[in-house]
Structure formats: C-alpha cells, structure tokens
C-alpha cells in the first residue's frame, strides 16, 4: 500500500466513522448515502483494479473513466437537487415577505381618501 492510499483511506475511514456516528443517532437517508459512498471509496482505493473490472463489465475501457463519469453524473444530480431546494426556499422567503408586507400595509389617511373614478 503506497502513501497516497494510506492518506486517503485514512481520510475516508474518518469520514465513514463520522457518518456512522450520525446514523446511529437517527436514520438519515442522506447520511446513509454518504456512508456507503465513503465505504465504496475505501474499497476502490484499497483495490484500484476493482474500478477497471467494474468499468469493463459495463463496457467502459478504463476504471478512471468509469469513476469520472460516475462523479460527474452524481455532481450534476446533487447540484440540481440543491438548486431545486434553493428555489423552494427563495419562494418561501418571498411568500413570507409578501404576507408581512400585506399585514403591515399602510392605508391612505382620511385626508387622502381616493375617490374611485
């Protein structure tokens, strides 16, 4: 095992441990996904040929290409999910600001009462 593998496997193991601690406190689907991802990273780091075997089995030549495609798709999916959440929160903020503005609307004083045309 080379230095690169030792450093990164240690890092991934710490992250997997932290994720596991959160999982034990309560069930979170996102944390479970991260826990599985950290374990997969450890497995691939410990056995670099595994990614090539997986790549070959799905018709991709190199393991690194398989990992790149997988990460790219995961990143895009994650980015889109965050965007949707951001838009939802933005909309909720606007609704809140709107209701506050309407509740606190100042009305024309008696001197300024408009006469509808």
């Amino acid at each position: 095992m080379n230095t690169f593998q030792i450093v990164f496997i240690t890092f991934c193991a710490v992250q997997a441990g932290l994720a596991l601690r959160r999982l034990l406190k309560g069930r979170h689907s996102t944390t479970l996904a991260f826990f599985v991802a950290w374990l997969a990273a450890i497995a691939l780091l410990a056995n670099p040929d595994a990614s090539t075997r997986i790549a070959n089995s799905v018709g991709i030549g190199r393991g690194v290409d398989f990992v790149t495609y997988f990460l790219l798709i995961t990143f895009l999916w994650g980015h889109y999910q965050h965007y949707l959440r951001y838009k939802r929160v933005e909309h909720e903020v606007t609704m809140l600001v709107r209701e506050l503005a309407i509740a606190q609307a100042s009305r024309p004083s008696r001197d300024h009462q408009q006469v509808p045309a």
Partner: protein, 223 residues
C-alpha cells in the same frame, strides 16, 4: 368599479414622486410596493395618499407586483393596472388600456409600445424586444407585438388566475405563459413608453436579457 394601480418601486425616489403626482389625478386606488428601497419611497407613497406595502428586503419586481396584486384582490379590486415607477409609462394611456377590461371584452389588456408613434424606443432595444417577441411566441404560444412591457390591465378574474413565481424580471415572460395556460382572452393597446437618459441608465440593460432568459428557463425547470 374599483380599479387599483399597482406600482412596484425600488429606489425610484423623485421619479416615483412625479409618477404618483400624475396617478393621483386618475382617481383610482394606488398601491405602492416598496421592494426594500433605501430611499424615501415609503414616505413619498404615504404623502401621495397611496396604500404602501413594504418588502422587508429586496425580492425583485415580479415579487413586488404579485404582492401588490394579491393585496388589491383582497381589497376587492375589480380591475388592476400594473404601472412602472420610473416614469416611462404615461397616465394618459390608462383609460384606453382599461377600456377593454372594464367593458368586459377581454380579461387582459397588454400595452404595446410599437403601436404608438410617440414611443422613443432605442434601436438596439427594439431589436432585442423583437427577439423577445419571437421567444414569447415559441415558449407561450402567444403572438404579441411587444413583450416585457409592464403596462397592463387585468380583470379580477385574470389577476386571480395569474400567480407569478418568478420573483425577478423573468415574471414578464411568465405572465404570457399564464395568460395562455389559464385561457385568458387578451388584446393589445397602444401605449407610449418614454425612454430618457435617466431611465435607460437605471433600467434594464440589454446585457440583462441573457440573464432574464436564464432566470426564465431555470424557473421553468424548477416548476
């Protein structure tokens, strides 16, 4: 017939005062929606005898318009006019804009600056607006002669059917989609839009068109 004029305003200052001077002579109810301005917008609105609503912080013109429309509906509006605070819209056009809605002929009257010979649309903006017109046709199916013209009159039925979720400038494209999807009838009315060096400096830049396009497309994806 209760007509409410909704004026979204963001740091329009003295231009807003001039606009409200004119609007107060129409005799209609005026709703100023201060979209988190740091100037005297609230005081100016109160001084002119308007309903004044204040967004705690800036949410964009689309959000401010929807706030004003929601408020006007709750106050029992029969028709609603949307009017810019920067002085580009002319109060003199309002009776003609309201007529198709008030008479019950259509649900929405859309201002069209190109039907008026008095509009001084800069040529570069004219080109962008023509492209926008084609874009509106492709996305909403609505064949309009002008687009992103904020001068409109809505019947109560139309105002209740339209619910803008685009907080910023893309609401101007979204509204066409909603007119189409809600099956609202509409008509275009000539209105004069006066551009000045001041309004061109503060208003929408042509370069913003791309940003508005992306806001609109992203918004469509997120729905």
């Amino acid at each position: 017939m209760k007509v409410f004029i909704v004026v979204p305003a963001f740091n329009e200052g003295h231009r807003l005062a001039r606009v409200l001077d004119d609007l107060s002579r129409t005799g209609h109810y005026i709703v100023v929606v201060d979209d988190g301005s740091s100037d005297q917008t609230v005081e100016i609105g109160r001084r002119h005898g308007c309903y004044v609503l204040r967004h705690s912080f800036n949410r964009g013109q689309g959000a401010a318009l929807q706030t004003g429309i929601t408020f006007a509906l709750r106050e029992g509006a029969d028709a609603i006019v949307t009017f810019d605070a920067d002085g580009q819209h002319q109060t003199a056009d309002m009776p003609a804009l309201l007529e198709p809605v008030v008479s019950g002929r259509v649900d929405v009257a859309l201002g069209n600056r190109f039907l008026s010979s008095r509009s001084n649309v800069p040529s570069a903006r004219r080109v962008v607006l023509q492209l926008g017109r084609v874009f509106t046709w492709l996305t909403s199916g609505l064949r309009v002669g002008d687009c992103h013209n904020g001068y409109r009159a809505l019947s109560r039925k139309a105002a209740a059917a339209i619910s803008m979720k685009q907080d910023r400038m893309a609401h101007a494209s979204e509204i066409y989609d909603q007119i189409k999807s809600a099956g609202l009838s509409y008509e275009e009315v000539p209105v004069t839009i006066r551009y000045s060096a001041e309004t061109l400096a503060k208003g929408q830049k042509l370069s913003n068109s791309v940003s508005v396009l992306f806001q609109y497309l992203y918004g469509k994806i997120a729905q």
